[in-house]
Symmetry: C2
Subunit: 133 residues, 2 copies
């Protein structure tokens, strides 16, 4: 599974980018995941944007439990969806679904960190591995 | 307003304690806030625990928006509640209310970071200050 996480807005703080790097490392045995932090979403010109299944993260979206997120990943795997674009900080883009990680508004760095932590947790659940931290 | 935030469980990761320290610094102009990270809640022997208004953070609690959290703080100020104990990682303690910051399970460090960021955001809302980050 390939994930591209795009956080558009201000540059995120160091403690959040440190956290994201750590989760990226931990996730590397489950999936490929890249993280992009741009000022403007328009600057993100990458090839074949249409091939991605697009998920926007927004407080207005559907709220999921950690178990439901892991079920969703399993569904993607079963239906052959292999490229997922996660969009944080831009709610206007045309997407396949909108997911909420909290009803509270949060900074870009914090929202990105939560997404990475939850994706890691979801893979741990899928692989029946304990998650204590 | 005095806040004591007690996170009980494993030692939290460095990037989260860096984030918490930063928000503690930013919050210092609005309130007094201390952070404790203990293995066992029982080890927390501090004086006059009864004087605290106790809030447990749990995915099972009442979910609030950032604006509702700022309203809650205003209410505390109006009703003369000055000492608040925030309990993270221990859902069995007898408390005044249970608040959710997400329907997802999260690590102790991440939950603590979100609480600090949200408290900072709530004070910015109360003081009509912009919050871009």
């Amino acid at each position: 599974m390939n994930y591209k996480v795009c956080a558009t807005g201000n540059k995120i703080e160091k403690f959040y980018s440190d956290a994201i790097k750590e989760y990226q490392k931990r996730l590397s045995r489950f999936c490929n995941i890249t993280f992009l932090n741009y000022k403007n979403f328009q600057k993100l010109h990458f090839k074949e944007i249409d091939k991605y299944y697009k998920i926007v993260i927004s407080p207005a979206g559907k709220s999921l439990s950690s178990e439901e997120l892991s079920e969703k990943i399993k569904e993607f795997e079963l239906t052959g969806i292999t490229d997922i674009l996660i969009i944080i900080g831009n709610e206007e883009i045309h997407c396949n679904e909108v997911i909420s990680i909290s009803s509270m508004k949060m900074s870009l760095g914090l929202t990105s960190t939560i997404f990475f932590e939850q994706l890691y947790r979801a893979y741990k659940i899928l692989n029946n591995e304990p998650y204590h931290k």
